[in-house]
């Protein structure tokens, strides 16, 4: 039965990676758009980010080197990713449910990545290195895994209840509820497996080590083996499912910030953007309203430059 778990785990991971890359590429390949930034912009230098200022406040800004602070971005993004700061500031009630959900997910995801790396070390490196690494994995896995599963379940139940509440019910599609139930089921089965059959995470650790070393040996016997298989199958399916839904916002959010909200790079004369803009302006327009006067062949430049005085 464990073989099924191996197969589904491989498929789940591969599908997850492909779907994430496809999502990333979809956003990355979109054309340059009009500037639509929103302040504060975290990378504004010279202390401007603190009050929402921009380089447009500077005298003859186009003659100066723009101060862009990567540290400024990190100062906002890291707490935002880890602690959902924007949500805490703007919707505390939701944050009390969303934060445990997301943080639980980070712990489970982070631990899985750590165990995958640990499995590679144990599988392919000498005992002098593998031994200590295995000990560290054995030490942290029950704490991080247990805490992650519990937080994730608490958060998902909280979010589910909120979605069923009066305010959000009308805005909730069946899929929104299914997503949360899927999390509760996958994390719930894993938690039961952990508490009842695998308190030291040894079965999970062995399974993951086998997974990365392509050793499809059975792990666990009897009910423990069944529970492990069910957990792995559910978690793998969930992993594959996430990037196909709006829960892929962990990818979209990068672009929402870096390509839209904080995208303030000016188009300077003779700069690299001008060529891209000229190409975009040469694209055909097919909007149908009479005042646009487009025919599907005229370009943006054509309709822009047409005489409008008659």
């Amino acid at each position: 039965m464990t073989t099924l778990a191996y197969v589904v785990a491989y498929l789940g991971l591969v599908f997850f990676l492909i779907a994430c890359i496809a999502r990333f590429m979809m956003w990355a390949k979109m054309p340059m758009h009009m500037r639509w930034e929103l302040y504060p912009v975290a990378h504004e230098g010279g202390g401007k980010a603190a009050y929402g200022g921009s380089y447009l406040e500077d005298t003859e800004w186009w003659t100066k080197k723009r101060e862009v602070s990567l540290f400024g971005e990190l100062k906002v993004m890291v707490p935002e990713i880890l602690f959902l700061v924007a949500l805490r500031e703007n919707n505390k009630k939701l944050w009390t449910r969303s934060f445990p959900f997301h943080f639980g997910l980070y712990l489970v995801g982070g631990l899985t990545a750590f165990m995958l790396a640990g499995g590679l070390v144990v599988g392919y490196l000498p005992e002098s290195i593998a031994g200590p690494v295995a000990k560290i994995v054995a030490l942290v896995a029950p704490f991080l895994g247990g805490a992650g599963l519990i937080l994730g379940i608490i958060g998902a139940i909280g979010l589910f209840m909120r979605r069923r509440g009066r305010e959000l019910r009308d805005y909730t599609a069946p899929a929104d509820l299914f997503n949360l139930v899927f999390f509760i089921a996958a994390f719930g089965v894993s938690l039961v497996s952990f508490i009842a059959y695998d308190r030291d995470f040894s079965l999970v650790t062995a399974f993951i080590t086998n997974l990365v070393t392509f050793n499809l040996a059975p792990v666990g016997t009897g009910t423990a083996g069944v529970m492990l298989t069910v957990s792995v199958v559910l978690l793998s399916l969930l992993t594959a499912y996430i990037p196909t839904t709006h829960m892929s916002h962990f990818i979209g959010k990068y672009f929402a910030y870096h390509s839209i909200r904080w995208s303030d790079e000016p188009n300077l004369p003779g700069g690299k953007q001008e060529k891209i803009i000229q190409e975009l302006l040469s694209r055909p327009v097919s909007w149908s309203a009479p005042h646009i006067n487009a025919d599907g062949k005229k370009s943006w430049l054509d309709v822009t430059l047409e005489d409008q005085t008659k």
Partner: protein, 534 residues
């Protein structure tokens, strides 16, 4: 208060309003306007208008006539779907494709944005005005009818002509101030979706409020200005303004026109020239006193910085932006300086940044920066005591939240207003509230739309203004100044003050920023700000 029970109501209850506000249930304003029963009567929409046009709520902005035949009904639905498809096309919507798709795909419908929306809050949290309500309708149409996804995935909605017509109306119940986007934990921009709905209506279906299209961008492109002001009238007006300003200040000025090779092409919102001549007069006074090399243009469009396309139509937007740049190129100026007009700032500086290339890519600067630099240079002798009255500052969304120009205007205020006389609104800077006139509302007043605007979109700003002066006497003889460095905001603030009679009742006056500078200039006669209600 009447409000929709569900997103699906949009296509139901034909001919009935989905929402109605009871003014007596609104949150009371601060003193001395704190008695709801004493507020001006809320004008009702006429029965004739309800009969003729599609009905959404208490007012009408767009004037979409009810279809008389099945063909007309189908044309509305099919036109909308066709436009929605074009919003997803690189050719037709490269301009906003990524921000649009981002906001369509990733909204978690968590309602975090609702509390950021002053319209939703001042409506008594009426469901119709919730930022997500509007967005949810277009999202459901998009997923069900364009992407052919199961309603189980993204929610269901019936699509009929009434859904389409009401959604277009509803896109004109949003100021596009983008406060909602600022609070979204994911980066979704529901205000942008209002603008994209407006784009479908305008660019595909030819449906736009008359004030911003026929009397706005079309008129500007045709005769030179949305005010109808031709180059000839412009020159007459400016000549009069120069004379009048010189008489008031004792400081002779002559506004230069079409000066080839000047350093600066100054572009005002032409509304200033028509409605607030003291503003261009003050600009000319400061620029001349500072010895700048500058000019106005008398070429059609070159003297009106407005660009209404920024609210509803990318092609109209590009047409105006390119003409502004072409005029600057013809004059050979080193830079364009935008007068006190927020949307003109954002249109030409930020959004047109991805339209202007080659020799049209002429540097654009905010007059907040130009004025700040003049003051920093010390060339003007200033006497702060001439501005010895309470002053508060309105932050135009376009200038502040959407461009990051926050500190120059404050540095100017510090330089011209005595210590202790200036008070910030709460909140201010990039977290400010819209004046209520944003995205075209300031110039829209058909039917009873002006009343709706004062009651719903402008109410939060008026509340802020009153709150900022609460430590001052509200006696009308004790004058208080609301500084609004944006023409549209100034128009909206004038309208709110008028609506509540706040000049007569509480001594609340308004004006621009440059007027405060001239009022403090030692080299001009005192009393440039005359405290006369115009």
């Amino acid at each position: 208060m009447k409000q929709p029970n569900s997103v699906k109501d949009m296509g139901k209850h034909p001919g009935e309003p989905l929402a109605q506000i009871n003014p007596l249930e609104q949150i009371p304003l601060p003193p001395p306007f704190d008695k709801l029963e004493d507020e001006p009567e809320y004008a009702q929409l006429s029965d004739a208008a309800r009969e003729k046009y599609v009905v959404l709520d208490d007012t009408i902005a767009v004037n979409i006539e009810k279809p008389k035949t099945k063909e007309e009904e189908d044309a509305l639905v099919n036109g909308f779907l066709s436009g929605l498809e074009k919003l997803m096309s690189v050719d037709d919507n490269w301009t906003f494709l990524q921000p649009f798709e981002m906001s369509m795909e990733h909204c978690a419908k968590c309602h975090t944005c609702s509390d950021a929306c002053p319209i939703y809050e001042e409506s008594g949290e009426n469901e119709l005005y919730r930022p997500v309500y509007r967005s949810e309708i277009i999202r459901r149409i998009y997923f069900k009818y364009i992407k052919k996804a199961s309603p189980a995935l993204h929610g269901d909605i019936d699509l009929n002509w009434e859904t389409v017509a009401r959604l277009i109306e509803l896109s004109y119940r949003c100021n596009v101030c983008r406060r909602c986007a600022q609070t979204c934990p994911i980066g979704v921009d529901n205000a942008l979706l209002s603008r994209e709905i407006r784009k479908i209506a305008s660019m595909e279906m030819g449906i736009v409020p008359k004030e911003i299209h026929d009397d706005g961008s079309v008129l500007q492109l045709k005769v030179g200005s949305s005010t109808g002001m031709t180059p000839l009238i412009l020159k007459d007006n400016i000549e009069f303004i120069d004379e009048d300003t010189a008489e008031r200040t004792g400081f002779p000025i002559e506004t230069p026109f079409d000066k080839q090779g000047a350093d600066i092409l100054l572009i005002h919102n032409a509304g200033e020239i028509m409605a607030w001549p003291e503003n261009p007069g003050a600009f000319a006074t400061v620029f001349e006193a500072a010895g700048l090399s500058w000019t106005l243009s008398s070429d059609a469009i070159g003297y009106d910085g407005i660009n209404y396309g920024v609210w509803y139509d990318d092609v109209q937007f590009a047409r105006v932006a390119v003409r502004h740049a072409a005029i600057a190129k013809k004059l050979g100026v080193k830079k364009i300086v935008l007068g006190e007009c927020g949307h003109a700032h954002k249109a030409l500086t930020v959004i047109a940044d991805k339209v202007l290339t080659g020799d049209l890519n002429i540097p654009r600067e905010s007059s907040m920066v130009t004025m700040r630099d003049i003051i920093r240079s010390g060339v003007l002798k200033l006497d702060k005591s001439r501005n010895d009255f309470p002053v508060t500052l309105h932050d135009p969304c376009n200038l502040v939240r959407l461009m990051g120009i926050v500190s120059p205007q404050r540095e100017i205020v510090d330089a011209v207003v005595p210590e202790g006389r200036f008070r910030e609104m709460a909140p201010h800077g990039v977290e400010n509230y819209c004046c209520g006139g944003g995205s075209g509302f300031a110039i829209m007043s058909g039917h009873n739309f002006a009343d709706w605007r004062h009651r719903m979109t402008g109410r939060r700003k008026f509340r802020q203004i009153l709150e900022s002066f609460q430590d001052e006497s509200m006696d009308p003889s004790h004058m208080k100044y609301v500084c609004a460095p944006c023409s549209n905001c100034k128009g909206q603030i004038r309208d709110i003050i008028n609506y509540y009679d706040a000049f007569e009742k509480a001594g609340i006056y308004y004006g621009g920023l440059v007027e405060l500078i001239v009022n403090a200039m030692v080299d001009v006669q005192p009393g440039f700000i005359d405290w006369e209600w115009h």
